[in-house]
């Protein structure tokens, strides 16, 4: 099942309002053909709304939406070449697995014999071959999820949409399913948009991640960009844990340096457009290494909390008015509550918050 041709999706200044409630405030978004883009953001920020707009289940209040070069802003869902996997799977309870998967083909009047082959192929591709005759309530949740994916894939759509497809599954199954989805997506090259609440999922499967907040785009980028160079405090704290600290920015020989309470650190992250002077940094917990003892410069304070999490130990250190969060491997030094510690800071995982 390779795709005829991948389409990109573009939203141009798309606004969506329900009555007076403006849910999307002018979204401009280009989704590259053949990519998997993840939408991430707090509940109610408009992720599902974007998917529904792309699917045609809602029409934009204003603005335009293109699939490939075609303006589909007022085209209804049943005429768009877009398939969707719903959070609740939305499998038809009065049909068998085979009928569910073959529904779209039947709608398109594909002859029964061809339909049968394609159903079998689609089910095989998600590892559900041989389940054709079962009814939906006779298969497990994970299997239902696979059937839902097969149903979306079978029409070889230009765009596939996934709305939190794995949120009803347990952690282990989730990891396996997301790998399967990613594999299928890469095999078929279908442009995909994927909504999730789980950052691990977002970081691991995506070509691009879009972080949203209250109907607006906060940042779009590759997973690495988003994690290592968050442009705002919101993105920094939403994508994993981050310590936000004040620092002074200076430039020397085209290199950028930050001074945190006198602790000098070279910055390798993007600092274009920044002026020297006071800035705020986002420091990932992994960039900090705790060292016993006091220090006049940098981050230094008393351990106020510690939690063993198996692969490591999480510590909170009180420094000035801030709580500094770190994770140390179980194999290294261990600290007790009340220990005085200071931090060594690595350049990777430190970025300047813009604006």
């Amino acid at each position: 099942m390779t795709n005829k041709k991948s389409y990109g999706v573009s939203l141009r200044n798309v606004v969506k309002a329900y009555d007076d409630n403006i849910v999307l405030k002018g979204i401009d978004l280009e989704i590259a053909p053949g990519s998997l883009t993840t939408l991430l953001g707090p509940s109610g920020c408009g992720k599902t709304t974007i998917l529904r707009l792309i699917a045609g289940l809602e029409l934009p209040t204003s603005g335009q939406l293109f699939l490939g070069d075609e303006d589909v802003s007022t085209l209804s869902a049943s005429r768009r070449d877009v398939a969707m996997v719903f959070q609740s799977y939305a499998l038809f309870p009065h049909m068998t697995v085979g009928e569910n998967v073959g529904y779209g083909l039947k709608v398109q009047k594909v002859p029964a014999s061809e339909r049968k082959d394609r159903i079998a192929a689609a089910l095989d591709s998600v590892g559900m071959g041989g389940f054709q005759e079962r009814y939906i309530d006779q298969i497990s949740g994970g299997q239902q999820q696979r059937v839902a994916v097969a149903r979306a894939l079978i029409l070889e759509p230009h765009v596939m949409l996934f709305d939190e497809p794995l949120s009803n599954l347990d952690t282990k199954l989730r990891r396996q399913m997301r790998e399967d989805i990613r594999r299928l997506q890469q095999e078929t090259g279908i442009t995909s948009v994927y909504v999730t609440h789980d950052q691990n999922e977002a970081l691991s499967v995506s070509d691009a991640v879009l972080v949203m907040k209250a109907g607006e785009i906060s940042q779009l980028g590759t997973p690495e960009e988003l994690y290592l160079q968050p442009k705002s405090e919101f993105v920094a704290t939403f994508m994993g844990d981050a310590n936000i600290v004040d620092a002074d920015l200076s430039f020397k020989n085209k290199k950028a340096f930050a001074s945190i309470n006198g602790y000098k650190l070279e910055l390798i992250s993007d600092t274009r457009g920044q002026d020297a002077g006071p800035v705020r940094l986002a420091i990932r917990p992994e960039a900090l290494t705790m060292v016993k003892g006091e220090s006049k410069t940098g981050i230094c304070g008393v351990v106020t909390s510690r939690a063993y999490i198996g692969s490591g130990t999480e510590y909170v250190t009180r420094w000035k008015d801030a709580d500094i969060f770190t994770v140390m491997p179980t194999t290294g030094d261990q600290f007790k509550l009340g220990d005085m510690v200071h931090m060594e800071i690595s350049s990777i995982g430190v970025s300047v918050i813009m604006g």
Binding site: Y18, R52, A55, G56, L57, E58, L59, Q64, D71, S73, T74, L75, S76, A77, S78, R79, R80, V82, A83, M84, F86, Q87, S88, A90, L91, F92, P93, H94, Y103, G104, V107, Q108, R151, A152, L155, L161
Partner: protein, 699 residues
């Protein structure tokens, strides 16, 4: 919206042209105007005159619009869709205005052409981005909106106009107040309200007693539920009133018995002596209506409260008991307060039912006039006082709309019971002992009383003259059923079955469609449709009757006298059954299922037929069954609309009652009860058990 210029090819597969074709066909083939005696009885010249092309009428205007749309000179303009929509709207308004001014009664031709305009309008609106660009759904919404407008808002507004416009057509804004304060009106309104307050109290009390009995005391709950859910549905109007007359009437069983004991020469009096007791008509008037309505509506209160009682989680009461409250304190402080919204709900609905009730006051009213019957008496006979009837109709509608509004917006949101936490394993803790005893005694006596009544209905038809002559006889049955199909009860019986059979599927279809568009779609004017649906729930039958006869006896919508208008009022009357079935059925279908179908490129039409309807099948069947059965017992809504040709069972029974022929009336009533029971049981057998159970609860 895209501003690209659309160039359309001129082809017959173009949906706009197909609708135009339908419009032209209607224009040339069907009579444009209504035929006074129906299509089959019209003379040649009447038929000819009714055609659109036989003379210049509103049809000419409509034809011009249709030709314009078919040619579409503006089809390459940017706003072509908008122009289509505007022309269609103008066509609608134009046809109605011209026909009204000319006094033309519109017929099939006009109706079909309006449908064609509706289709084109839907296409145009969909392309303008209406309802996610979905022409079928847009069309469905236009259809629902149009029908609600014509068959609900228009008649209701017509009665309003009757009380502000006098006979000469002058605007008299204060006429309503003059009428409502005129002699006798106040008493009628007061009587109705008093009755409603008392009946509300009695039925709610009994309903609660039964609910506690069935849910918490007896182990035979299923039986009680089954009987009580069936009774109100299968009991024809008048029947309970007649049964009460048999027992408590002037020559009823009780009078006879007392006379036998204490009357002239009675058992305790000695022969030849003057007795203490004379025949009395105490049952006619307040107490008769009160008793009959209590009997009629208790099952409804019971079903409502049963729903509430059985969803209270046992853990609430257990929590109270673990805090050292005894069983009575628990009942008083936990159980009862949890039930309060349900009780308020049941009370209001019983009040509304009492206000709207026509059958019982008709039979038992005596001098105690209430609004529902007074509307009837303002019109029948030589009275024809439409202004008075309209005034009463509006007042009655006002009360019941207020009741429904309170029920829906205030109490509706206050139900605690649905938010109970997780269910627990064990059963309920027992209620206080004396409460159990009290409920049991009351429930059993009331059930016995009800049983006696229904038995006397069945037996009453087999004696010569209840009260005077108890000789068994089949005379009443012979009179009704053995004189051939053209005599006695047969014509009305057959008409009833026909009308119900035509009306029931339509009721179910439109009810579910209304439920669908109001719960699943957002569109401008949805609130109007929603409110129209609420009017359907609230409007008393007699008010439907009076508003229909006022609205549909003049051009452009001349329907009175036809079978269609009787069927339409059946449909409107029973619409709540359809809507409820639809709403509760749809609530169980995840909207994502439809969306999944849409994203699989199925049209919304196909989605409805392959996804929604198959999943709604139980709701659909129950809506058909119950609207069929309810049609058979509808009287107040159609009483002004039937003609000798369209006489139905209930109106025939009414005519027997008015002639004082109780034997035949009861006889016919029993036959109806049996007919309906057979129908329900057969359907039950066919579609499997528990179906009816579930849906009765919903209705």
């Amino acid at each position: 919206m895209s501003d690209t210029i659309r160039v359309e090819s001129f082809s017959w597969s173009n949906p706009i042209l197909r609708w135009c074709l339908l419009g032209f066909a209607a224009f040339f083939l069907l009579p444009w105007n209504a035929l006074e005696y129906g299509v089959f009885d019209a003379t040649y010249s009447e038929f000819y005159n009714a055609y659109a092309w036989s003379s210049i009428k509103s049809s000419a205007f409509s034809l011009v619009c249709l030709i314009l749309i078919a040619v579409r000179p503006w089809r390459s303009m940017a706003k072509a869709d908008l122009i289509d929509a505007i022309i269609c709207t103008i066509a609608f308004i134009g046809i109605l205005v011209i026909a009204t001014l000319n006094g033309e009664a519109l017929g099939y031709g006009a109706a079909i052409q309006m449908v064609a305009f509706g289709g084109i309008l839907a296409l145009a609106l969909a392309r303008l981005g209406f309802i996610q660009g979905d022409p079928f759904m847009t069309g469905a919404i236009l259809l629902v909106g149009g029908l609600v407008g014509v068959f609900i808002y228009f008649p209701v507004l017509t009665i309003f106009s009757k009380v502000v416009v006098d006979d000469k057509g002058a605007f008299t804004p204060f006429m309503f107040f003059n009428l409502i304060t005129s002699f006798g009106m106040g008493r009628v309104v007061w009587n109705s309200l008093t009755m409603a307050i008392f009946v509300g109290a009695s039925t709610t009390f009994l309903g609660l007693v039964f609910a506690l009995y069935a849910a918490r005391i007896s182990t035979r709950a299923q039986g009680v539920i089954r009987i009580f859910s069936m009774l109100p549905i299968i009991t024809p109007p008048f029947v309970i009133g007649l049964a009460l007359i048999l027992i408590f009437g002037r020559s009823g069983t009780i009078n006879d018995f007392l006379l036998y004991l204490f009357g002239d020469g009675g058992l305790f009096i000695g022969s030849g002596n003057e007795g203490w007791f004379e025949r009395s008509a105490y049952i006619y008037g307040f107490w008769g209506i009160f008793l009959a309505q209590t009997l009629s509506f208790t099952p409804i209160s019971f079903m409502l409260l049963m729903g509430m009682v059985s969803t209270i989680s046992p853990s609430m009461e257990e929590a109270s008991l673990t805090m050292r409250a005894d069983d009575w304190q628990t009942f008083k402080n936990v159980t009862f307060p949890l039930l309060r919204p349900g009780i308020a709900n049941a009370y209001l609905l019983a009040m509304i039912s009492s206000l709207a009730d026509f059958g019982n006051p008709m039979v038992l009213g005596g001098d105690y006039d209430v609004m529902a019957t007074e509307i009837y008496f303002s019109i029948v006979g030589a009275q024809l006082d439409y202004a008075r009837a309209a005034t009463l109709g509006i007042t009655l509608l006002g009360f019941s709309l207020i009741g429904f509004a309170i029920q829906r917006y205030w109490i509706g949101n206050k139900s605690y019971v649905t938010v109970t936490g997780k269910g627990t394993a064990g059963g309920f803790q027992p209620l206080p002992r004396w409460l159990q005893r009290g409920c049991t005694v009351i429930a059993i006596s009331w059930m016995s009383f009800t049983a006696i009544l229904y038995v006397s209905i069945l037996v009453g038809g087999f004696v010569v003259n209840w009260g005077a002559d108890y000789t068994p006889t089949l005379a009443h049955y012979e009179e009704l059923w053995a004189r051939g199909f053209g005599y006695g009860a047969w014509p009305s019986y057959i008409t009833t079955l026909e009308f119900s059979a035509v009306g029931a599927p339509l009721t179910a279809m439109f009810g579910i469609l209304i439920a669908y568009v109001t719960t699943r779609r957002r569109f401008a004017g949805r609130n109007l449709v929603d409110f129209g649906a609420m009017i359907c729930f609230a409007i008393p039958g007699t008010v439907i009757g009076i508003s229909y006869i006022l609205a549909f006896n003049t051009a452009p919508l001349l329907l009175t006298g036809s079978a269609a208008v009787v069927i339409i009022s059946f449909i409107v009357r029973n619409m709540p059954v359809g809507i409820r079935a639809g709403v509760s059925g749809l609530a169980q279908i995840d909207p994502a299922l439809e969306e999944a179908s849409l994203t699989q490129r199925a049209s919304s039409l196909r989605t409805i037929f392959t996804i929604v309807l198959p999943l709604l099948k139980p709701a659909l069947i129950s809506a058909v069954v119950f609207s069929f059965v309810k049609s058979m017992t509808t009287v107040s809504a159609i009483i002004f609309l039937v003609t000798p040709d369209t006489q139905v069972a209930t109106t025939y029974i009414l005519s027997r009652v008015e002639d004082g022929d109780f034997g035949q009336a009861i006889c016919y009533g029993s036959v109806l009860i049996v007919t309906m029971m057979i129908f329900i049981l057969v359907v039950d057998k066919l579609v499997g058990k528990s179906r009816t159970q579930r849906t009765i609860k919903a209705s």
